[in-house]
Symmetry: C2
Subunit: 361 residues, 2 copies
DNA sequence: TTGTATGCGTTATCAG
DNA sequence: CTGATAACGCATACAA
């Protein structure tokens, strides 16, 4: 049966003209074969005209372009994926965009990847565990690489990813192996730096509001902070757990400063927590920042520089993060294994109003 | 030549066993043929096992699954796209994620689309004009639909889209035709509502800080505001142009309130502008909000509910927006033309502190 | 139930 | 420079 169609092809150029297109309703796009037929050339020439790889005479080129225009032809990239085993698709996995920092990084990535000729497949996973549900989908779309902006990436999740043999770049994760490269900011150093700053401003008692316990980034910032406090002979900080959100910072600060003894310097694992904490101090507890309490955050989200907030914080070197990631992805495309060392990009202190007071004065 | 390979297939199951896989370095994934060979069944059976559409005997099913496991087989979706002319890919076009409202909507979309079995291709375009560069790419990836969160969509851009015969859902655009459906909030009514509220609070002179002139959403909000002010006999509002960003609101407010005559009620086209304006009033001009000036915004971004901001604003019915969009996309997939009427979802007033004062008291 | 053959829309190879 | 043809990996109609 099907052989019949085939058999008819040899002389088909001039066969049933009405059979040209409105055949099946499924077909939405003209194919190179359709174009070829209309232009009166071979399909190869159409392909060559659009890929530009090979030479085509000006006359055929013109005929092809005309026919293509008439049929609204858009070459499909799908078959190419099959042939080359490269989709030019990069998946970005995010767990939530409520933190403006992630939005900003995501945007940066989109721009850069597009510029490099990649398309971005955006994937949302509510939590680390759900990763297993999404991964097969990504593999099925043959993404070239996966960038995980997930705050946390469990060893189990990492294992799932590793099985796919797809290069993975993960932010702020402890995992790092043949298929997973970790990219983080200088979290530990930032913690140290803030401790130094607080001490220089005359602070005597210290507080820290963390992200989720599972967040390596939060843990590292805290470690640096605690270590430096210990080194300088200051007492250990009071710790409260937040969740990286405004509300978490607000509630944690209420708890930490509601009692009798209160810290006079507070480091928060991110800006959202810090802003929540500041609001709790000012609006609910009647404390002044920085006159009574020094506060610092991390991320340098847009709100941190608002006049009413003016928060001391750290900027990630977003450009470097993206650069590194991009180069990892690109080199991985040549089949090379990933760099085996975690990548660390700088975090720069931005001093603003919330630490501008010398507590001894 | 190639025919030889083909000819060899019949008895190939037991042929050169080393030829099994590490053939070409390009190939990263096992194919259904590889699995079939290892399992000792036909490729069809592998396909059937994974698609689940047809019946497969328990014994073969088991053999197939085992082989697949051993080879880390992940069925590719790419060929299916070719067969069905459906990619299950939906493109979301964004112009910038600096506005938390967009991030939130984007996240909502991702979640819903994924739940509906679609993947999201995220595309960034710096401006309306650049849309033309990106569209062909999207067509080449055979996306099923395009959701444009671009604040503006020019008629030219719309025309480009229409040629592709890809369903487009655009937010807050004036365009609406066979291929482009517009989805917006009740911008006009919101403008009226705010005017009413200001008047009820005893305001006498009014101000408005707009988004970019090209933004239809901003224009509609202003129109409703102005119309109601006119109806009630109040003077026309002082207008300043912002750009939907904090800095724009800050600068615009400085200009509008820096002179001798100043409005005592200010409506801003979005929350970011409003927050910028408030900061300018409080931190730079020494004015009190709401005691001296009432302020309202639009979007209900997270920061609007921060204790230090406490901004009166409007929430979009994000869930409805996504619902509508999703149903449009899904129905369009059956080849039906798009709904010809623009979709309007409700905007609900959220009264907060920045309008809590009665100016006459 | 299972196997065979064919097509989807490209690119690459190989003859002309 | 041009045309035929073989893949790529899967789904499906058809035959067995």
């Amino acid at each position: 049966m099907t052989a019949e169609k085939k058999a008819a092809t040899p002389g088909a150029e001039d066969a049933s003209p009405d059979k040209d297109w409105p055949r099946d309703s499924l077909k939405k796009y003209a194919s190179s074969i359709d174009v070829a037929r209309v232009a009166g050339v071979s399909q190869s020439q159409v392909s060559r005209t659009f890929s530009g790889s090979s030479k085509v005479s000006e006359s055929t080129r013109k005929k092809v372009l005309e026919a293509a225009e008439r049929l609204d032809y858009r070459p499909s990239l799908i078959p190419r994926i099959m042939l080359t085993h490269k989709s030019n698709l990069v998946a970005i996995v995010v767990g939530g965009l409520y933190n403006p920092f992630y939005s900003a990084v995501l945007e940066e990535f989109m721009i850069r990847f597009q510029a490099a000729g990649h398309q971005v497949l955006l994937v949302h996973v509510p939590n680390d565990h759900a990763l297993d549900d999404v991964i097969p989908k990504l593999a099925s779309y043959r993404v070239d690489a996966i960038v995980s902006a997930l705050a946390i990436l469990s060893p189990a999740g990492a294992a799932t990813l590793a099985k796919l043999k797809i290069p993975v770049i993960a932010f702020n994760t402890a995992v790092n192996n043949r298929w997973v490269t970790s990219v983080s900011s200088e979290n530990f150093q930032a913690g140290q730096t803030i401790a130094d700053l607080f001490i220089a401003r005359g602070a005597r008692s210290f507080g820290f509001i963390s992200g989720p316990w599972t967040s390596p980034a939060s843990a590292r910032r805290r470690e640096g902070y605690e270590e430096r406090l210990r080194e300088t002979g200051a007492g250990p900080p009071t710790i409260a757990r937040g969740d990286y959100r405004y509300e978490g910072g607000f509630a944690a600060a209420l708890g930490m400063f509601g009692g009798s003894s209160r810290p006079d310097a507070l480091f928060c694992a991110n800006d959202l927590l810090a802003i929540g904490a500041i609001d709790a101090l000012r609006e609910r507890l009647g404390l002044r920042v920085p006159d009574d309490v020094l506060v610092a955050g991390f991320d340098d989200i847009p709100a941190a520089s608002w006049a009413s907030v003016d928060l001391t914080t750290f900027t990630h070197d977003a450009a470097a993060m993206v650069d590194e990631t991009l180069s990892i992805v690109l080199s991985a495309e040549n089949g090379k294994p990933l760099a085996t060392k975690p990548v660390v990009v700088s975090a720069r202190l931005i001093e603003r109003g919330t630490t501008s007071k010398d507590l001894r004065s």
